[in-house]
Amino acid sequence: MGFEKFGRKSFAAITKTARFVDLLAEGKIEGTVCKDCGVKFFPPRADCAKCFSKNMDWFVMPEKGKLETFTTAYYAPLGFEADPPYTMGVVDFGNGLKLFARVAKEIKLEEVKVGMDVAIRPVKYDNGQLSFEVTKA
């Protein structure tokens, strides 16, 4: 249990990576790294498909990256009707490490650009759900 707290609305409650949500509550955004072969994963994985190890550690994600692409949704799927418009994007930290998240509402739509420098931070919604979002660098 525990993973139901992730995101605006979670579709999974049980995962071996549920500690991710506890870390968010502590203000940390972390991925997993294979202790045996060193591959880093974000989003986190419990199992390494490269060397078949289940021996994982957590590592802190880089704070700054570039916004590789983004979109602003003006309609929403069931369960997210209160949210539009909201912007989502992909942040590229280099070395193959990327992250998908919402972009913070405080950034004006016209300011969001492909290639802009951005940062990431944990976020807690009014209903107690925990997530992370893209902010200005």
């Binding site: 993973f3 992730f6 995101g7 605006r8 609305k9 979670s10 579709f11 999974a12 995962t15 974000f42 989003p43 590789e68 692409t69 983004f70 979109t71 602003t72 949704a73 003006y74 309609y75 929403a76 799927p77 069931l78 369960g79 997210f80 009707e81 949210d83 909201y86 989502m88 994007g89 992909v90 990327k98 992250l99 998908f100 998240a101 919402r102 492909v114 290639g115 997530s131």
Partner: protein
């Protein structure tokens, strides 16, 4: 390589709100394909049913539909790769025939999307992606394809007018395709920003607008495949499966290598299919590509090798993909005009290409008696991709 042939094709009109259940919907395409092939159920050895789950309530639909179509006690099974389900079904059937297990197989794709609301449908489609790490942000198909559009437009100079012109091409053929759900003409003024009368201009997931997105629909499609021996006895105009390519890609956007290069599965599947068929992109005379969104058609041009990476816009600017152009694409209106009843879409694309190669598409017919046609069918946001190449005698 003439070992497996299409001997019959059928498709319902794609509509909003089909007045019947899924078994009745499936029957309509099946009936047309069986009559087209001129065979009865006794000639069929097996069936493959294809759809995306959770639009209707029927679990394990293959047995239920096989019974309604009169295809029991022959073996049946269910194949699912979301939007590419029925071209995956064709691949499975091809393998079953080529292996010698069966001689004649019915591949039936269906989807009745109108049983749920549009918002529910967006949620279902969103859950066709990564439910653990992405759906919690409120993702949906237009938003995913918009991520590709945004990066692509920023790098390659693709404009909103280019995307609009993909939809205008589509509507040119939607108007003359009596099986399409959207049959009204579309003009540039329909995309005018700020004009409340401009019905295609509203943002859905920026930079994609209403006119950039295909519509949900109800529909079914049916393809009947046979081995060479049966094809020669049963069919006057067999259309041969010359090449099949299929690929998969990481589900999470964080694992996608390059948003400016389009969907990797398109490139991979095309390479395999061309190699198996022993042809190149230049040999293709008519193509159906997966234009669930306008940007998807531009990316498909490049994945299939019709244009170099980043240059897909030139084909639409030069009208090269119109019926009279050097490589006609989606001259039946594509998903944008026909509508996209998920499980039926691949079979509908295959039907169009088979009819093109048989010279039977009426006002949509490409001139010059095309001998090689291609179907490009994508599942999810390039999670799955199938490219299938067809040729005639």
């Amino acid at each position: 390589m003439k070992e497996v042939a299409v001997i019959g094709v059928g498709q319902t009109s794609f509509v909003r709100g089909y007045e019947g259940s899924i078994r009745e919907l499936a029957f309509d395409a099946f009936r047309e394909a069986m009559q087209d092939a001129g065979i009865t159920q006794k000639d069929v050895d097996a069936s493959v049913f294809c759809s995306a789950p959770e639009y209707d309530k029927q679990r394990s639909p293959a047995g239920v539909l096989a019974e309604y179509l009169g295809l029991i006690p022959q073996p049946t099974l269910y194949v699912e790769t979301v939007c590419s389900s029925s071209s995956s079904g064709l691949k499975v059937a091809y393998g079953l025939i080529k292996s010698g297990l069966h001689d004649v197989i019915v591949v039936l794709g269906f989807q009745k999307m109108s049983e749920i609301s549009s918002a529910e449908s967006q949620e279902r489609m969103g859950r066709g992606s990564d439910i653990q790490w992405e759906a919690p942000f409120g993702t949906m198909m237009p938003a995913y394809y918009a991520l590709y559009a945004q990066a692509y437009m920023a790098k390659h100079g693709l404009t909103h007018d280019d995307l609009m012109n993909v939809r205008i091409k589509s509507s040119t053929y939607g108007v003359i395709n009596d099986r399409a759900v959207y049959r009204k003409p579309i003009k540039p003024g329909d995309f005018k920003q700020g004009d409340p009368e401009a019905k295609m201009a509203g943002p859905v997931a920026w930079p994609l607008r209403v006119g950039d997105c295909c519509a949900n629909a109800d529909g079914s499609s049916c393809i009947i495949l046979a081995n060479a021996e049966k094809a020669k006895t049963l069919s006057k105009k067999p259309v041969w499966v010359l090449g099949i390519g299929a690929a998969s890609e990481a589900v999470n956007m964080a694992a996608r290598p390059d948003f400016t290069r389009g969907l990797s599965v398109g490139y991979t599947a095309a390479g395999q299919a061309y190699k198996m068929a022993g042809i190149t992109a230049k040999d293709v005379k008519v193509a159906e590509v997966h234009d669930c969104f306008t940007i998807a058609e531009i990316m498909a041009y490049e994945g299939l090798g019709f244009a170099p990476p980043g240059e897909g816009k030139q084909l639409i600017r030069e009208k090269a993909t119109y019926k009279e152009g050097k490589i006609p694409v989606n001259v039946d209106g594509g998903l944008l005009s026909k509508g996209h009843p998920i499980g039926a879409t691949g079979g509908s694309q295959i039907r169009t290409i088979v009819l093109q190669l048989r010279g039977e598409t009426g006002p949509m017919q490409v001139a010059g008696e095309p001998d090689i046609g291609l179907v490009h069918n994508i599942g999810g946001v390039g999670l799955y991709g199938n490219v299938t190449i067809f040729g005639r005698d």
